[in-house]
Symmetry: C2
Subunit: 185 residues, 2 copies
DNA sequence: GTCTATATGGAGATAGAC
DNA sequence: GTCTATCTCCATATAGAC
C-alpha cells in the first residue's frame, strides 16, 4: 500500500483479506492500519462508520464479485452445463484451492452474524437460486434443480471448513470435483 | 445455575453454549459471569488459565461426547449400517436439527483456530476415520470408505453453515437425510 | 487525505476479604 | 468457593493540526 494517496476502492480488498485471516473481532484497527499502511485518520475518513462499515463494504464487494463472475453467468447463459463447469473452476480459484476461507460463511458462524444478517442470507440465497436456474435450463425440474444447487453450495462451504480445520487444501479440491460431477451428471 | 456451590463440570456445558452463541472473542467474561451465575473469582478458580482454558475444556468435553456417542459406536460395531444410521440421528439431535452450530467448525474458521489447532484437527480427523471404519466394515474398500466418510462430514458442516446463514434449519435436516442415503446406498 | 494525540470504554485478569 | 474492588491494557473512536 503506497503511503502517498489511497482510494477507498483499493483499501477494500486488503480489508477483505484481513477479515478472512483475523475475523471481525480479531481485526483490530491497529492491524488494519498496519496492513493497509493507513492511519486511523484515513481509515475513518473512508469509513466514517468504523469497522462495521468496513466489513459491510467488504461484503458488498464480495457480493458484486460473485454477481459478476458467478451468478450472472449462471443465469444468462445459452450453455448452462458450460456455465456450471466454469463456476466450479472460478470458485476453486477464488478460494485459492481451499487455502482461503469464505468470509461470508465465517461470518455466518460468528456472532457478527446479527449485524450482517441480510448480506449473509442474500449471498447464499442468490448463489442457490442462480445455480438452480442454470440446472433448470439444463433440463432438471424445479425440485431437482434446487436440491442439486443446495447440495453443491453445501459441499463448497463444508469443504472449506474441513480443508481449513485439517490444514488440507486438497480436500477442498476433491469436494469441488465431486460437486461438479454431481451437477453435470 | 445455582448461586450456592458450583462444580467445574456443570459450568462447562454452559460455557459451550455461550461460545456457540457469541464466539470466542464475543464471549466476554461479563457475559460468562452473567450466564453461569458465577463471579470472576469463581471462574478463575475453576479455570486459572482464563478464557483460553475455558474454551479448551469445552473442546475437550465435545471430544469426549463425540468419542462416546459417535466415534466408538462406529468403530466397534457388528452392524455397521445400523451404527451409521444411528450416527445420523444422533448428529441431527446434537445440532438441534440445524438450529445449533458446530463450535469446532466455527473455531476452524475463526482466528482462534491457531490456539486450538490440534483439538480442531483431531475432531474432524477422528470423525472421518471412525466413519470410514464403519463403511469398510460394511463392505466398501478403503478408498471408497474414506471418500464417502469425508463427503458426509463435509455435508454436515456445510449444512450447518447454510442453515445458519439462511435462518433455515430444515436445510440441515435435508442435508442429513441425503448424507444418510449416500452412506447407506 | 493524512497524521498524531487523546478520550473513553470495556476487555481480561488479579488480590484479598469473607 | 465465592465475591467485590481494582489493575492494566488495548480496543474503538474523535479532534484537530498539517
Amino acid at each position: 500500500m503506497a503511503k502517498t494517496v489511497a482510494e477507498r476502492s483499493d483499501v477494500i480488498p486488503v480489508l477483505a483479506e484481513i477479515f478472512r485471516e483475523c475475523g471481525f473481532e480479531g481485526a483490530s484497527l491497529s492491524i488494519i492500519g498496519e496492513k493497509t499502511g493507513l492511519g486511523k485518520g484515513s481509515l475513518y475518513h473512508f469509513f466514517p462508520g468504523g469497522k462495521e462499515e468496513m466489513a459491510a463494504a467488504v461484503l458488498n464487494e464480495i457480493d458484486t464479485w460473485f454477481e459478476d463472475h458467478i451468478y450472472r453467468p449462471l443465469r444468462e447463459v445459452e450453455n448452462p452445463r458450460a456455465a456450471i463447469s466454469e463456476m466450479c473452476h472460478a470458485v476453486t480459484d477464488y478460494f485459492h484451492s481451499g487455502r482461503r476461507i469464505c468470509l461470508v460463511g465465517a461470518f455466518a458462524l460468528d456472532n457478527v452474524r446479527d449485524r450482517f444478517t441480510d448480506q449473509i442470507r442474500d449471498y447464499f440465497a442468490d448463489w442457490n437460486s442462480a445455480l438452480a436456474a442454470a440446472l433448470q435450463t439444463a433440463g432438471h425440474n424445479e425440485t431437482e434443480a434446487s436440491a442439486l444447487a443446495e447440495e453443491a453450495v453445501i459441499s463448497i462451504q463444508g469443504g472449506l471448513v474441513l480443508a481449513r480445520a485439517l490444514g488440507d487444501p486438497s480436500l477442498f479440491k476433491r469436494a469441488m470435483k465431486k460437486a461438479e460431477e454431481r451437477l453435470l451428471a
